[in-house]
């Protein structure tokens, strides 16, 4: 009898604490959303051309390539690892798919024309292979992902350079052209692809066993290992997933931009990391998800797009972006501490 009273009291106290505690523990999800609403509100008031349906379409299109890369990167960051080779792998995969496509005669690239499907498959195989090298370096050799993917960034850039040799290619397989630059019923295909991949990423993380393992490995890697999970296999898998997502983004991006050349994805490295982290996914792993990444993508998209709609020195915009990113990182780290305190 005494025991059961004690239990009720404990549970009750837990219930009372929860109002403040939940707010604190949800800080990670609430803060990015508030940021998004504030930014949207600000730009809507500051510029009449911002809050239009057309412009929403613009924003969606602008964040699509980043969004596809960010799907894979979310898996990696949830495991408390990092992938710095995403942009370089996107670039090399985009270049590869052009390399395997017949170019116009004025394009001066010694390429290997193949049927469209073969070009796509080979390019996907290339990015998966590069991801596998990342995975083996991280898990078998034990190189920290930061260093391993830094090296991969250079390797992928090197392959890109060898394939195009300073030239620019334009043609990619028809399927890639359609998905990258075509649209259906007024909606760009690339937005649809990004939405489908984000949804797929969300479903995998939330409803599959593998998704649970990703969160558990990120939450406490030692405990995951002592629970008998194959931590190395899971870490290796997320590195491959990240590389393949980047590769798809690279192929569609090349079609979207209309050309394949060296260094054309460079800005996507920071944008993708920023989208994932600004959205509230913990850099320490185990917390966050695709929902957060979507909010982060919108924060970044609204910011980039909105700054073009208001009259600000274009050089100042870079600084503003940096400051907002810093603010998001501060919130990310504080949310982690609040959450840890709430758990104790």
């Amino acid at each position: 009898m005494a025991t059961s009273e004690g239990v009720t009291a404990t549970v009750h106290r837990g219930g009372q604490r929860s109002a403040a505690a939940i707010l604190r523990s949800q800080m990670r999800n609430i803060a990015p959303f508030l940021t998004l609403i504030c930014l949207s509100g600000f730009f809507a008031i500051a510029s009449p051309s911002f809050a239009t349906l057309d412009n929403l379409g613009n924003i969606l299109t602008q964040v699509s390539v980043t969004g596809i890369i960010a799907v894979g990167l979310t898996f990696v960051i949830l495991c408390a690892e990092i992938d710095l080779s995403i942009a370089a792998i996107a670039n090399v995969t985009g270049i590869a798919v052009a390399y395997f496509t017949l170019q116009e005669s004025y394009v001066n690239i010694a390429n290997v024309p193949l049927p469209g499907w073969a070009a796509i498959l080979l390019s996907l195989a290339l990015c998966a292979l590069l991801g596998l090298v990342n995975a083996l370096g991280l898990t078998v050799i034990g190189i920290p992902s930061f260093i391993m993917t830094l090296a991969m960034m250079q390797i992928a850039a090197g392959i890109s350079a060898l394939l195009v040799r300073g030239q620019i290619a334009y043609k990619v397989p028809d399927l890639v052209t359609t998905l990258g630059s075509g649209s259906i019923g007024g909606i760009p295909w690339i937005v649809i692809v990004a939405a489908v991949m984000l949804l797929a990423g969300h479903l995998v993380l939330t409803y599959t066993r593998f998704g649970r393992y990703v969160y558990m490995v990120g939450g406490n890697r030692e405990a995951a290992e002592y629970s008998g999970l194959n931590v190395k296999l899971i870490l290796g898998s997320v590195m491959v997933i990240s590389a393949v997502c980047s590769g798809i983004a690279g192929m569609l991006g090349v079609a979207h931009f209309g050309s394949a050349q060296q260094n054309e994805f460079d800005t996507y490295l920071l944008d993708s990391i920023a989208a994932v982290v600004v959205g509230g996914t913990s850099l320490f792993g185990g917390r966050g998800g695709i929902g957060n990444t979507i909010v982060g993508l919108f924060v970044l998209g609204v910011l980039n797009n909105g700054l073009d709609h208001v009259n600000i020195d274009s050089f100042l915009k870079i600084l503003i972006r940096g400051l907002i990113l810093l603010a998001a990182l501060v919130i990310n780290v504080y949310a982690q501490r609040l959450r840890a305190r709430a758990a104790e």
Binding site: T3, G6, V7, T10, V11, G14, Y207, T208, R209, G211, R212, Y213, Y215, M216, G219, N220, E222, A223, A224, E225, Y226, S227, G228, L229, N230, V231, K232, L233, G286, R287, R339, A340, A343, E344
Partner: protein, 500 residues
Amino acid sequence: MPQGRSPILELNDITKAFGGVEALRGVDFALYAGEIHGLVGENGAGKSTLMKIIAGVHPEFSGRFAIDGRETRFRSARDAHAAGVAMVHQELSVAPDLSVAENVFLGAQPTNRFGLVQWRRMAREAGEQLARFGIDVDPMTRLGDLPIGLQQLIEIARVLFSGARIIILDEPTSALSPPEVERLFATLRQLRDEGTGIVFISHFIEDILRISDTVTVFRNGRKVHETDAAATSKAALIEAMIGKGREALEETYAHDIRLPTRGDRPVVLKADALSLARSVQDVSFEVRAGEVLGIYGFMGCGQLELARVLFGKIKPDSGTVVIDGDPKAFSSTAAARRAGVAFVPESRRAMLFHQEPVYKNISISVLDRISALLLKPSRERSIAVRQVDQLQIRPAAVELDLGMLSGGNQQKVALAKWLSYPPRVLVLCEPTRGMDVGAKNDVINIVRELSAKGLAIIVLSTEPETVLSLSDRIIVMKRGAVVREFAGEVVSKDRLLEAA
């Protein structure tokens, strides 16, 4: 005890409490120059607390504290250091990425008048000091590249040659090989003869008897016995430590070992000549279905490493783990789990996900049995609810974040995660450490029930009570090797301590 001289260190009526729990009660202690003073007592008897007071780590306490007859108070470890008190702590505290020489001179590197480190001088002097201690290593080697025992010797060397007049060694020999212990003792005697006062804490009573001039015994925060080392024996010291007569003890822990009657049960796990660097040496044993094998030894005896080898976390240098007659070479902990090995480490933090709900903590080890691709949250919850019921985990709310549970209940969750699909072998490290009596009894009952169901269980602990209360058969490890097996005989705490 050197008579007619005044002690260099004298403490009277020292009392120290941690959050209402008294760790020391009215303790007197004196140390003379040119004396080696041995301290013995069970875990939590107060030895380390007293030494930390002397070394300035615990500045808050009541009682009189005098050095060279002058009353003083250390506010920090720095104060103690300045007064010539140095301590080697139980846990290794070295900088593995620095060189041997830098470690020897940690915080006191010789510098020239521009404040730059004199590397050549530092290397030479470090080499000389270590040579004096019988250690022959290149002073510029990275310390972390050396074996653990050697690292410990180098840390000891740093303290011994720091010029301190009062040196405290807390459990310095646990990771040392016999010749290394000899070298340490030779150096300690030399320092003693030069007039240094040395306090030596150890679980190894033979070591205490061999090196000490005086021995003091602690029990439950009190000093219960002080004697000349020459005038006492191992049995007398153990009796003073435990505090009851030998016969009474055999009553408490009389244990009819049931192994002979289980000889017909199949062997589930067999360790065959397992060796791992310096921590595990040629360890072999068998565990049968329905049997609880206790593995007892002092901290650092290699049992934790052994447990990790059994679970595939560490690969052994040689030897095999055989399960149900199949030799296994586990490539990962996942492989060990699939082969039917379950493992609970000594630290709950290393086992559980504090920011995840209880049910996810329980289901994690069986997810691949209940779902191929998609999760089945309702199935997970029902499994968790059943375990929470059976193990009486409180509060019985599987959605609660694990971090909200008390330590004892967290330990039960750590067990629960393995029980929804019972494994073949359960390896438990320190299953009752830090628990109150009620939670301890719960865990003991759970282990009994599991073994009655036919599970083979291995319990590894540094606490004799834990091993005695759970085991059908006990093996004792010492410095990485199995030194004694108790089977089918009457065993007691003092016999266990004596063997280790």
